[in-house]
């Protein structure tokens, strides 16, 4: 194993130093990442598989799962469309204020999710700027599904765009220009040239968006109102169970979120291996 992990002798560092650095890094990973992950499952299954399944089968847990999936099902397509459109505009066209726009995409990363949640409370709360608009439409935003969707939309805006922009910029505009010279319409060019060239990065962006949409706590917590079985998403349900000293049930629900995280890491690994080279080069790739 050490033969495989040991880096090629590119530096002059002595073997003992490289080994200790490697061991220190691995130890850190185990203590801070692998152990907690193991503890989640150990706690979840601590009272047996039956208790685990009962915890997941509880009406509140099932309602939370359904709500989280519904939110993700609405947010992911919206932010995918937005991310692709934004990346296309930034990556393939020149216009004034482009740098400002790209910086704005990062705003949700820079702002604490709790602040983002408060922002929606301010906008749609009593005397809020947009409250009359929502009232006119007869929509309850706060402590209801629309608020949760808005908050989740906000925090997941950057993922798809951030994956696509550098790739699209690196690929340049020549292929699009070639398609135009061959008489292709804008839509056909996008559909048959631009999109296939970024599909793996796009898929990865979607995976990240979905993972975050399912896992978002802070922003959703502020706008949800914590109504059990109605406005409680999976992360909120975990927190509420935990606060009620129902540890085993909390960890059982948490294990679902952990599985999402592990699945998205596997997906990331697979997609990152595929994205840098043209997918067609591996013969038989979907062309």
């Amino acid at each position: 194993m050490s033969a495989e992990l040991a880096p090629r002798r590119a530096t002059g560092e002595p073997v003992w130093l490289r080994r200790s650095l490697l061991i220190a890094a691995l130890a850190f990973l185990v203590v801070f990442l692998v152990l907690p992950l193991a503890v989640i499952f150990q706690q979840a299954f601590g009272s047996g598989v039956g208790a685990y399944l009962r915890a997941l089968g509880a009406p509140e847990a099932r309602a939370a799962l359904a709500l989280s999936l519904l939110v993700a099902a609405i947010v992911v397509p919206l932010n995918t469309v937005f991310g692709v459109a934004a990346a296309w505009a930034v990556g393939k066209f020149s216009f004034r204020g482009k740098a400002v726009l790209v910086t704005l995409f990062d705003l949700p990363f820079a702002v604490s999710p709790v602040v983002a949640g408060l922002l929606f409370v301010l906008l749609f709360g009593r005397d809020g700027l947009l409250a009359p608009l929502a009232a006119a439409g007869g929509i309850h935003v706060l402590f209801a599904l629309p608020g949760i969707i808005l908050a989740t939309l906000f925090v997941t805006v950057p993922f798809v765009a951030r994956e696509l922009i550098p790739l699209m910029q690196a690929q340049g505009r020549e292929e699009e220009e070639a398609a135009r010279m061959l008489g292709a319409s804008g839509w056909r060019t996008f559909r048959h040239v631009t999109l296939p060239n970024v599909r793996w990065a796009l898929l990865y962006g979607v995976v990240l968006t979905a993972a975050r949409a399912l896992g978002e706590f802070g922003a959703v917590s502020v706008v949800s109102g914590h109504i059990r079985g109605e406005t409680t998403t999976l992360p909120l349900e975990v927190e509420m169970l935990h606060a009620e000293f129902r540890g085993q049930e909390a960890f059982a629900v948490a294990s679902l979120l952990t599985l999402v995280a592990v699945a998205s890491l596997v997906a990331k690994h697979v997609l990152e291996r595929r994205s840098p080279r043209p997918p067609g080069v591996a013969r038989g790739g979907p062309a």
Binding site: E175, R180, M181
Partner: protein, 366 residues
């Protein structure tokens, strides 16, 4: 299909890429846009293609007399081969070539069988039928070039535009492709414009050469015309190596320093200061001094293929002078560095003083 460009200007920010350019290209011609990098030649090509829109309110682009200025690139039926080919990386060679046909609106789209037949014919034409199922990443530079050309020809363009078609290829492949493109143009008779910075390529391939510098057209003519009758020092200098001397013209005689040289070319300034241009192969080297010979010192003797290039230093000014002689001449002369020799210009071209290469003289002053 003829091309006409009328009073086109194009700026990128403060940079003026094209400055009131007008040009007419006849049906079936093979024309080279030649100039140093940044001279505007690629911009002009892209304006003809519709990939760049000229600055308003400047002129128009006409294809066969029809003003296409208002039409986008997709509606001009112009074939364009990009410098780096811009092949669709996720499509096979076959799909790349078929793209233009498959992209037509349903009413004008050929059937899949027709497309297959047309692509097969094009693959045959560019001699790469065996590559149909490959992806661009699996091809050599020369092969990509052929795919790009076949793809552009698939839509039966009225005009074919090529941006630095041989720029990214090595010297041997380049020569082969050049000859092949000449033949292809003769067979297809489609009006073709290509951009190059290589004067040899332009002179060898084109029916007419358009010389550009700093966003303007300096001269248009057949390869022989621009080479033999350059309109200014820029054209002269760009079409081949040149030695430039400060000269003085008085009473029909030309002097470089104290040396009187024979000028066969009647055109040129009547009297006063002038720039005398001499090609390296027009400098006759010998060991015999005389009133008509420049005294120079040999610095380097370089054997470049069939010729020997001699780098010399002007004894008075210390400036570098280049001469080229046939191999046999050097074997009999046996020049070696440090030696003193005498150079007699066989052909001198005079331009008025104050027009060094790259500086555009006022129209009519030459």
């Amino acid at each position: 299909m003829s091309i006409e460009v009328r009073h086109i200007s194009k700026s990128f920010g403060a940079f003026r890429a094209l400055d009131d350019v007008s040009l007419a290209i006849g049906r079936g011609e093979l024309v080279a846009l030649l100039g140093p990098s940044g001279c505007g030649k690629t911009t002009l090509l892209r304006v003809i293609a519709g990939l760049e829109s000229p600055d308003p309110p400047s002129g128009a682009v006409l294809l066969d007399g029809e003003d296409v200025s208002g039409r986008g690139a997709a509606g001009r039926r112009v074939g364009f081969v990009f410098q780096h080919y811009a092949l669709f990386r996720h499509m096979t060679v076959f799909d790349n070539i078929a793209f233009g046909l498959a992209a037509r609106p349903r009413a004008r789209r050929p059937t899949p069988e027709q497309i297959r037949a047309r692509v097969a014919a094009l693959l045959d034409l560019v001699q790469i039928s065996f590559l149909a199922d490959r992806y661009p990443a699996q091809l050599s530079g020369g092969q990509r070039q052929r795919v790009a050309l076949a793809r552009a020809l698939a839509v039966e363009p009225r005009v074919l535009l090529l941006d630095e078609p041989f720029g990214a290829l090595d010297a041997t492949v380049r020569r082969g492709l050049r000859r092949w493109l000449r033949r292809l143009h003769a067979d297809l008779a489609v009006t073709t414009v290509f951009v190059t910075h290589d004067q040899e390529e332009a002179l060898e391939l084109a029916d007419r050469v358009v010389l550009m510098d700093a966003g303007r057209i300096e001269q248009v003519g057949t390869p022989a015309e621009v080479y033999d009758e350059p309109r200014n020092p820029f054209v002269y200098h760009f079409l081949g190596h040149a030695n430039l001397f400060d000269a003085e013209v008085r009473g029909g005689r030309t002097r470089i320093g104290a040396v009187e040289v024979a000028t066969e070319v009647p055109s040129g300034p009547g009297a006063g200061r002038a720039v005398a241009c001499v090609r390296p192969h027009d400098l006759e080297l010998s060991r015999t001094p005389g009133p008509d010979a420049l005294a120079l010192t040999v610095r380097h003797v370089l054997h470049v293929g069939p010729v020997v290039r001699v780098e010399l230093e002007d004894e008075a000014g210390g400036r570098l002078v280049e001469a080229e002689l046939p191999r046999e001449r050097q074997s009999s002369l046996a020049l070696s560095p440090g030696e003193r020799v005498f150079a007699r210009p066989r052909a001198v071209r005079l331009f008025p003083a104050g027009t060094p290469p790259g500086v555009v003289p006022e129209p009519g002053s030459v």
